[in-house]
Symmetry: C2
Subunit: 480 residues, 2 copies
């Protein structure tokens, strides 16, 4: 009896990456040596070792799943990435291109000539081609489109006509359709003739002769019911459906809530036009949370960690520029009180405490609210109740922590009144932070913007300028 | 012919929430009126309206999927939440409890007596009971365990013995197992006798008489192959498998990479002990990204947005206290230079610019790196290369933006040397931000801590104290 060997998938991802990096390093070490010893008699031996290393690397890569290779490509700096990319067998190029992130895909496609791109994309489905098309050279896309049959060409065109965040851009066309007036036995025989079913086929789509969706037949029901029964008796006639122009974000939430694996997409006339599958939705959920984190920190988009310095600059400049302006405003607020600071220099040392705690507290509030909005737990209707709660939390934090820091200020500078001003300013700035932490994302959402967009930069701007103004203002009023 | 009515799932979530809130408001309005008019002849009429509103709300709730009710419960403040919870039909309590977030679940269970909890959990599977058990009153858990048969009791115990982030805690036990030496025809007949298949059954598990996993039979293959064939001829003998003590995070990544729907969990002897399904993995992916965002902002855990003020304070105090200390340190750094500020008060106005831009830039770097580490794209091995890149970005940003702000400083205060000090300080602080933005998460990861933990608070602390020190130090050296 042969021992079954199981594929050990998880926990070895970092290991695999390390192996590839190790082989790459050996390869480069040898290359360096070979360069230095050119013409030398050792060169031939080194070249042999060099070739052995590359062969071993190639063997390693051939064993890996396309998704794992994609992962490794994403984790490698550009030079190493292209070395690995060239070693990957040409017939796997397409699968890998579909798996990598946009930023990395761009770098890989830039390294391929038209001929290679055409070869890699030859066997792709219409939905996969549509995914890739925006990043391919224009003439390659034309050539690809010409090679498709009319139905597929229409599908690619239709998929491309939707926005990235619409259901239509994410659906595929690998639907198994059946009629409602046949028996399950007939369905079973039909499936056997197909030889293979598309991935994620947990239900068959029941359509009439015009292609109008009548219901779905879950494979589970097909398996447990008497083969004599008709499809119409067994099918679910009220499946969750989607429309191509719907928001993909909502679709992903529906998949999550109703534990869907696949779902039909129908047009406004009820005609079946495609299907959504859980794998696309999982990718979308992952992407959404990424975008949210990055946007809050003021990063424009997913950044390939080994992107060139120039690309990184481009990704980060916009919000840094905004931050420069807000910092300048904060600086001018302080400038208004230069006279007070000259008289009491302790103010300069204490003012960043007021601003800093306010910024931290405001970031906590805004993070929580952006999160709740992303999960649709919070509309714009609960504002006042939420505001009351956040203000209460801020008031208590302000009195307690402000009190502590007020005592510290007294101990440092021996002035009770300075301590009281400190406590008062902390409390007011925390209240401002709570107010802005609620109002900024709510307002952005109300005017139809992404509530996460630069949230962190904006709240910090408010609590900095506000904190300086409150503290220096109170000090000027009561201490001088 | 009857028109098929389709369930329109997405895009109506906010609508449904709004409808429930509306009905609740009407209900409360009437209740208020009734209170005010007690003893009055109108009271009876109002009571009728009141009852009608509640009945309508109940009807609305009965139509909703448990996941949707869970969502609505999460989005409601405590009082309204409990009103809705009491209207939900008792037999759906269990399903809903399994869907809500931990924080909300706690508030719902606190509102139920032991009898209600027992009724709600009566029909649960072992894995669902294990999910709920930690939050139930101790005596209820005992009673529940006593009502289980030996196998289920053992399963609950086993599931509870794993950490929350281990595969063993997330697996379920609804596996359909078959033998390898039977024909597909026999399998099909066996399935029909089962009457119903567990959710997410995309493959059957092939085991020997000792329960050792020999392979899996994808339902797809069962459907398209000749029924005469034997299971052993058709099954996949190298499926992706998991072990109960593996990290659930890695399992979720494997599900994502290999587009899995279900996968077997086997113990170290190769015996099938449970199964993982994509729905649990999707929840995990969602949770992970949430935890990451919250941790970066210094929030301990998921916070029910309508949690009491006291709970919110508890969730946020720890990092605020840390922030208080770091702010105090920054204040003392400034304190060291009070003499310089007294001589040149412009320093007080300009220093927050240096600190602020550094904080923003450091947050961008740390966010990107925490993100890449969470996605396993970055080990601790790439540190030096990444550091070089981030330092290059910081240098350019420092010279460019620092130059701009240096010119502004000159225009404001008419001192070229002040402008140059400003530019130099900005550049140095951005370099510090880049260094710390890379080193903080890398170091946390190397010592086995969560790299996201309070990342934002820590980087800001570094760039504040560092920025003040660099700027005031340079100014003291060169300007005074």
């Amino acid at each position: 009896m042969s021992e079954v060997e199981f594929k050990k998938a998880p926990d070895s991802l970092q290991d695999r990456l390390a192996q590839v990096v190790d082989l790459l390093h050996r390869h480069k070490l040898v290359e360096d040596l070979a360069h230095r010893q050119e013409g030398h008699q050792h060169a031939r031996v080194e070249n042999l070792v060099h070739r052995q290393n590359l062969a071993e690397l190639q063997r390693k890569l051939d064993e890996l799943h396309p998704a794992d290779i994609a992962h490794i490509l994403e984790a490698l700096p550009l030079g190493d990435r292209l070395t690995v990319w060239q070693l990957v067998k040409a017939e796997r190029d397409g699968d890998i291109l579909l798996e990598v992130s946009d930023a990395v895909r761009e770098s890989l496609i830039a390294d391929m000539d038209d001929h290679e791109i055409l070869a890699a994309t030859r066997d792709m489905d219409a939905d996969e081609l549509a995914d890739l098309a925006p990043e391919l050279p224009r003439d390659v896309v034309h050539e690809l489109m010409d090679s498709l049959d009319a139905q597929d060409r229409e599908r690619v065109r239709s998929a491309l006509s939707y926005e990235e965040d619409q259901v239509g851009a994410l659906m595929d066309f690998e639907m198994v359709t059946i009629r409602e007036d046949v028996s399950l036995e007939v369905v079973l025989r039909y499936l056997r003739r197909l030889k293979e079913l598309p991935g994620h086929t947990d239900k068959l789509f029941v359509v009439d002769y015009d292609g109008i969706l009548k219901g779905v037949l879950p494979v589970k029901r097909l398996l447990v019911n008497d083969p004599e029964k008709l499809v119409v008796e067994v099918m679910a006639s009220d499946p969750v459906i989607f429309h191509p122009d719907e928001d993909a974000h909502d679709a992903a939430q529906a998949f999550e809530r109703y534990d869907l694996i696949s779902a039909p997409v129908v047009d406004r006339t009820g005609k079946l036009t495609g299907r959504l599958t859980i794998d696309e939705m999982v990718d979308l959920i992952r992407e959404e949370s990424e975008t949210e984190v990055l946007n809050m920190a003021g990063l424009r988009e997913e950044e390939d960690i080994f992107a060139s310095v120039w690309k990184s600059l481009g990704n980060r400049w916009a919000w840094l520029a905004v931050n420069l302006i807000t910092a300048f405003v904060a600086s001018r607020v302080i400038g208004m009180f230069e006279g007070s600071i000259e008289k009491l220099v302790a103010l300069a040392a204490l003012m960043p405490i007021v601003a800093g705690i306010g910024g931290n507290s405001g970031n906590q509030t805004i993070t929580m609210i952006v999160r709740a909005m992303a999960l649709d737990q919070l509309g714009t209707s609960n504002t006042s109740r939420l505001l009351r709660k956040e203000l209460a939390v801020a008031l208590i934090n302000g009195l307690v922590w402000g009190g502590v820091i007020g005592v510290v200020a007294y101990l440092l500078y021996g002035s009770w009144s300075l301590g009281v001003v400190m406590t008062g300013a902390m409390t007011l700035n925390l209240l401002l932070a709570a107010l802005m932490g609620v109002l900024i994302p709510m307002t952005l959402a109300r005017v139809g913007r992404d509530p996460a967009m630069g949230a962190s930069v904006m709240i910090t701007a408010m609590t900095d300028s506000g904190g300086f103004f409150i503290f220096l203002g109170l000090a000027t009023l009561f201490l001088l």
